[in-house]
């Protein structure tokens, strides 16, 4: 009951005409930031910070604007993943795997609607989770030490090979490449720069956004130029958007599972939305086993990662608000904004500044509904941004990529690096090596190494520390099972796949 009263209070704070206006503007801008390759949630939010200060917004209003942008980018990222095979931001990466094949089969509209609804489910359920369980969930962070984090990342890593549907060795190669790139930069455990060649710009390592824009967007431009548009993803048609009720029903279970996994991944500090969408996709893939047609345009392959990444975005708010520990790169930016607004997130935020917390939560609900409307019935409006003739779109993608990356650091170096990644992406495409595991390797490799190094410091180099808690042991079992199971299932997989419609009741 108390929760409902608080929530009602939150709505009175958030539902003024001006804050609603900010929510709509934020959602709109966020969806566009998300849809444009090169602009992701963290620079979308960062770009709007000066605006929030200039307009003299108070704490609640500023938070409403920034969280609407954050949620908006999570929705928007899928649009270019599906239509262009270029993830609009890093969490939308997994959506390319089945979203683009669907678009090629002429089902772009269905993919957009399914992923839009999945995004809504993920975001909505995780906001509910945030309301009910935030104080309880904060305690989860106390249960995760270096050993547990290492096992968690290991779990993700051992299932990476399964990302590609065709050639697992190539996926593993790509992951190893990403892992290698992750080693660049200052080593946290010793403070020494590694593989930077004395170049200061590499001290902070390679930014995922630079890698992702290079590997996907810039590589796409090269492919486009080479083939005069024939082999390029650009130009997938979208005729009409109707609501595929059958698919929505059949992916409902997927959305629920994806939301649950994404939310937990979001709650864990450091894991973030990318891990959420990745784990949601992989879990769904192994859950369905041979019954899924993942990688070839399975609607569930679109629903799972989108529910996962949006749920993770909500989950990431939990540690940010209750502990002051950012659960993702974007929440790190938002945390900084909170501090500047003289709000100190932490165990006391819920009791000391209830109007801020509950106003924020209410605005998340509002933003979600606005976003559902923008992204399902009105999705064509955003699609139009990407559905222009290739001779307009390609220069635009290139320009936005450069401007977006430059806005991250204001350094020419990252632009050069991005072009370098573009060339790498082109070569990988030619060799038929998937680019998604490269990014996951960079993203997860860093965190996994840090966790291992911390564990070794704490335990004085005793490796048994890695198996010292029930949580860690549980994660290890999952990790090993996830790695070994495909070998035993291989025989089973060769059987003709059961038609997708047959498994509806089993979900």
């Amino acid at each position: 009951m108390e929760i409902l009263a608080n929530l009602a209070h939150g709505f009175t704070v958030a539902a003024t005409p001006f804050t609603l206006f900010l929510a709509v503007v934020g959602c709109f801008l966020g969806t566009i930031f998300g849809a444009l390759p090169g602009l992701g949630p963290s620079n979308g939010v960062a770009i709007l910070i000066p605006l929030a200060f200039t307009l003299g917004l108070d704490a609640t209003q500023a938070l409403v604007l920034l969280t609407s942008v954050y949620y908006g980018t999570m929705y928007g990222g899928r649009i270019s993943s599906i239509l262009l095979n270029i993830p609009g931001d890093e969490p939308a990466m997994m959506t390319t795997l089945d979203g683009f094949p669907m678009a090629k089969q002429g089902r772009a509209g269905d993919a957009l609607v399914i992923s839009g609804v999945a995004s809504f489910m993920g975001a909505f359920l995780s906001t509910v989770g945030l309301v009910i369980m935030a104080p309880l969930l904060a305690a989860i962070a106390y249960l995760f030490g270096p050993a547990e984090y290492f096992a968690l990342y290991l779990l993700a890593f051992l299932t990476l090979g399964g990302v590609a549907s065709k050639n697992q060795a190539k996926a593993a190669l790509a992951a190893a490449l990403g892992l290698g790139i992750a080693m660049i930069g200052v080593d946290n455990a010793t403070g020494m720069p590694r593989f930077t060649g004395g170049n200061l710009h590499l001290n902070d390592g390679v930014d995922f956004l630079v890698a992702i824009v290079g590997l996907f967007a810039i590589a796409e431009v090269f492919i486009f130029i080479e083939s005069h548009g024939k082999n390029s993803a650009i130009g997938v048609a979208l005729d009409k958007v109707s609501i595929p009720w059958r698919d929505l029903r059949s992916t409902f279970g997927t959305m629920l599972r994806g939301s649950g996994i994404g939310f937990v991944a979001g709650v864990l500090p450091g894991a973030g939305a990318s891990l959420g969408s990745f784990l949601a996709y992989m879990a769904e893939k192994s859950w369905l086993g041979s019954r899924g047609r993942f990688g070839t345009g399975d609607p569930r392959g679109v629903a799972a990662p989108e529910a996962g990444n949006n749920a993770a975005a909500g989950g990431a708010m939990v540690p940010m608000l209750t502990l002051g520990v950012p659960g993702s790169g974007t929440t790190a930016v938002m945390l900084a904004v909170l501090m500047t607004l003289n709000i100190t997130p932490g165990p006391l935020l819920f009791s000391e500044r209830p109007e801020v917390v509950w106003g924020l939560i209410a605005s998340l609900f509002i933003a979600n509904i606005v976003l559902l409307i923008m992204n399902v019935p009105m999705v064509k409006l955003f699609v139009k941004v990407l559905m222009v003739p290739a001779w307009v779109l390609m220069p635009m993608v290139t320009m936005v990529s450069f401007v977006g990356i430059y806005s991250l650091t204001g350094s020419y170096f990252d632009l050069v690096l991005m072009v370098g990644f573009g060339i790498l992406g082109y070569i990988l495409r030619k060799l038929d090596v998937p680019a998604v595991p490269v990014i996951l390797g960079i993203l997860l490799g860093n965190e996994m190494e840090n966790a291992l190094r911390r564990a070794m410091t704490i335990s004085n180099g005793d490796w048994t520390y890695l198996f010292s808690s029930p949580i860690a042991i549980g994660l290890w079992i999952f990790a090993i099972a996830g790695f070994v199971a495909p070998f035993f299932l291989r025989g089973k997989l060769k059987k003709p796949p059961v038609p997708a419609t047959d498994d509806l009741n089993e979900d």
């Binding site: 566009i32 930031f33 602009l39 960062a46 770009i47 709007l48 910070i49 000066p50 605006l51 962070a141 106390y142 249960l143 030490g145 270096p146 200052v186 080593d187 946290n188 455990a189 403070g191 720069p193 004395g198 170049n199 200061l200 710009h201 001290n203 902070d204 500090p269 450091g270 502990l323 002051g324 520990v325 950012p326 790190a332 930016v333 900084a336 904004v337 501090m339 500047t340 003289n342 100190t344 932490g346 165990p347 006391l348 409006l381 941004v385 222009v388 307009v392 635009m396 320009m399 936005v400 401007v403 977006g404 806005s407 650091t409 204001g410 350094s411 911390r454 410091t457 704490i458 004085n460």
Partner: protein, 322 residues
């Protein structure tokens, strides 16, 4: 088509806004992304410089992130060495990195440190149910078995947070500081989480990072590393009064290019002093958990030189630099 143009325009407008364009006003470079400590310094000091009519036009804040401030530092030294209308945000992290040669060969004497106008006090923290009641208890436990205590902190190994416990142990006469265990996590709050979770035995960080957890009763601050007790937290003892003569504060201040005249340098020093003395700045400090710490001009430069020399010695001992 219209929508496309609109989208593109909107985006580029927003971007221009974010990046900021150069004008003929004073420029303050924040060597990090918007929202961090350096950005805060630039925006607050910049605002007060203008509000107090110390400069004619609003101060332009430029964010130049990269290499923990190294990118901005290199930029100032190599390209803006004589810019009299340029100030750059700095903190303890800047001098620590300079002392450890983390800016690719750049040294601390290539710019002039013009002043610090506030500081976030260093603290040593344990979980509420920790066996350690005083800083002395913790130090004795490490002396007896260095492997028994791990510190968690928000900076990389060799960074400022790592230095704080090492300075305390040195002051206690413990010389084998390489055996002291430290793990670098993502920020002070994360370090506290690991300590409350029992994965590490103590946390080293800035006071502002700990206040929420302190009020909630999840942690105890064993010592604050300031000269005097911090106003508003009068029940927290300093390391000094517990017999460990260490002062380590994360100061917030500015540097200016080396090539400007002494007159221009002193002019900036005077302006910073005026900001530090203003009632508005005192309010900003109170709101943001900063303790008073004002040193400007030659006085500050001298203090920085001394801190850099100490950091070099300590860093060599732990092997961060040769």
């Amino acid at each position: 088509m219209k929508k496309t143009l609109f989208g593109a325009l909107l985006t580029s407008a927003a971007l221009t806004f974010g990046a900021g364009s150069a004008a003929y006003a004073t420029e303050c470079i924040a060597p990090a992304n918007p929202g961090g400590g350096w950005d805060f310094t630039c925006r607050q000091v910049g605002k007060l410089l203008y509000d107090l009519k110390l400069v004619d036009q609003p101060v332009q804040v430029t964010n130049m992130a990269g290499a923990g401030g190294g990118v901005a530092y290199t930029h100032v030294v190599t390209e803006r060495n004589e810019a009299a209308d340029l100030i750059v945000a700095a903190s303890s992290a800047t001098t620590t990195r300079l002392a450890q040669n983390a800016f690719a060969g750049m040294t601390a004497d290539q710019v002039r440190f013009v002043g610090a106008i506030g500081a976030d006090p260093g603290v040593i923290v344990v979980a509420k149910d920790s066996q350690f009641q005083t800083l002395g208890d913790l130090v004795e436990a490490i002396k007896a078995d260095p492997g028994s205590v791990t510190f968690a902190g928000g900076s990389a190994a060799g960074g400022f947070d790592h230095m704080k416990p090492l300075q305390v142990l040195k002051a206690a006469g413990f010389d084998d500081i390489r055996s002291v265990k430290y793990i670098a996590v993502d920020g002070g709050a994360d370090a506290i989480t690991q300590t409350i979770g029992g994965f590490t035995q103590a946390m080293t960080g800035d006071m502002s990072e700990t206040i929420g957890f302190l009020k909630a009763g999840d942690i105890r601050i064993l010592a604050v590393l300031t000269e005097e007790r911090v106003p508003g937290f009068d029940d927290i003892p300093t390391a000094r009064e517990q017999g460990f003569d260490v002062v380590a504060v994360n100061w917030r201040g500015l540097y200016v290019p080396k090539g400007i005249s002494d007159e221009q340098f002193n002019d900036w020093a005077a302006k910073l002093q005026a900001v530090a003395d203003s009632a508005e700045w005192k309010q900003v400090m109170m709101d943001n958990g900063l303790a008073p710490f004002t040193k400007v001009g030659a006085d500050f430069q001298g203090w920085v030189d001394q801190v850099v020399a100490e950091t070099v010695t300590l860093s060599k001992e732990i092997g961060v630099i040769q």
